[in-house]
Symmetry: C2
Subunit: 229 residues, 2 copies
Amino acid sequence: MKNTLSLKKAVVLLSGGLDSATVLAYAVSKGYVCHALSFDYGQRHKSELKAARKVAKALGATEHVVVKVDLKKFGGSALTSDTPVPKSRSNKAIGVGIPVTYVPARNTVFLSLALAFAESIVARDIFIGVNALDYSGYPDCRPEYIRAFQKVANLATKAGVEGTRFRIHTPLIKMTKADIIRLGTKLGVDYSITHSCYDPAPDGTPCGMCDSCILRKKGFREAGISEIR
Amino acid sequence: MKNTLSLKKAVVLLSGGLDSATVLAYAVSKGYVCHALSFDYGQRHKSELKAARKVAKALGATEHVVVKVDLKKFGGSALTSDTPVPKSRSNKAIGVGIPVTYVPARNTVFLSLALAFAESIVARDIFIGVNALDYSGYPDCRPEYIRAFQKVANLATKAGVEGTRFRIHTPLIKMTKADIIRLGTKLGVDYSITHSCYDPAPDGTPCGMCDSCILRKKGFREAGISEIR
């Protein structure tokens, strides 16, 4: 039984942040052979990708593929343009409305590419670290969105037509940031190598004031866990 | 009324082939301001992209954006690898099963990027030249797939959440190749600048023997129209 499980391949979307690192640790703990997938999508900084490489290695992904896809060509987001990233927003303000850091259709683009990768390597399981609780108000993090995409995955593909059931796993979808950090800590994630900030200094130091930094700090505080072990 | 119509923006997926050229002509004829979108996805030859540029210009697209997305990283198709393209298959054989020219999840990747583009330019209409009749057996050309993707589009996006209804237009979905050629000819498409071949010579000359060349020739024959005007 253990052998069967250990042969299960999965594609794990890995941004280099706290959530996707936890997802990778979770998928590995469930016996999946994990193919980590990251994107060089024209984000303002490359600290994310550096972190993703470290995380993939530290948590035992069998490979880490980085695909270039130039979302910058479309613009429309503070994460891929020169629009300032909002700072020092209160916890109440975060999660109300959709912020300028929203990248148009980003998770759909990422999941489509994960699907292409999964079908190519004959994997049927795709893991993504979306979160519908302590999230930033992005529509493509909601359970109904994920269900709709899963339906597309099965209709879109040769594998789906031939009987494979693709499954989009969202183990964090109902967790608070503190829950996520507790789970990852139990699974041995070293969060000091992850990167969450939307607007780091050129050397990668987090700004400490964007929504992502604020949610991260709040999560560690509520989990009662120190960020640096 | 005419002014309102002429302000309607659309994203039109343009491969440089016969079908997407017809779709672009159709969308223009319906009064859409058309933003053509093509992909440099690691296809074996660049004749498609050259044709797409000519077609976009000839048919009056307001802009033509080419986005790089490296599907070659995943492999799994004769169109993005060294697997030979099948030649001289009979009309009966074409459309039975899914051929090696299938690119994993290609239309899902392309439609996702079209959605990202549409949301960025505040367009709600996306045109794609899929065809469920004289097609090559690809699952992501079926009406049920398109419906499922449209649902994803509306759940995935800020625009969808805020009340925009994205629409995926597939004007060719129930047409034969001959119907498509008749429609395009009526709309003034110069098919001599389009490119259909999966495996052209280095100078772009079509092989004449792949499924795509065979379907194209059959279409012109059945439409009673000469390919070169």
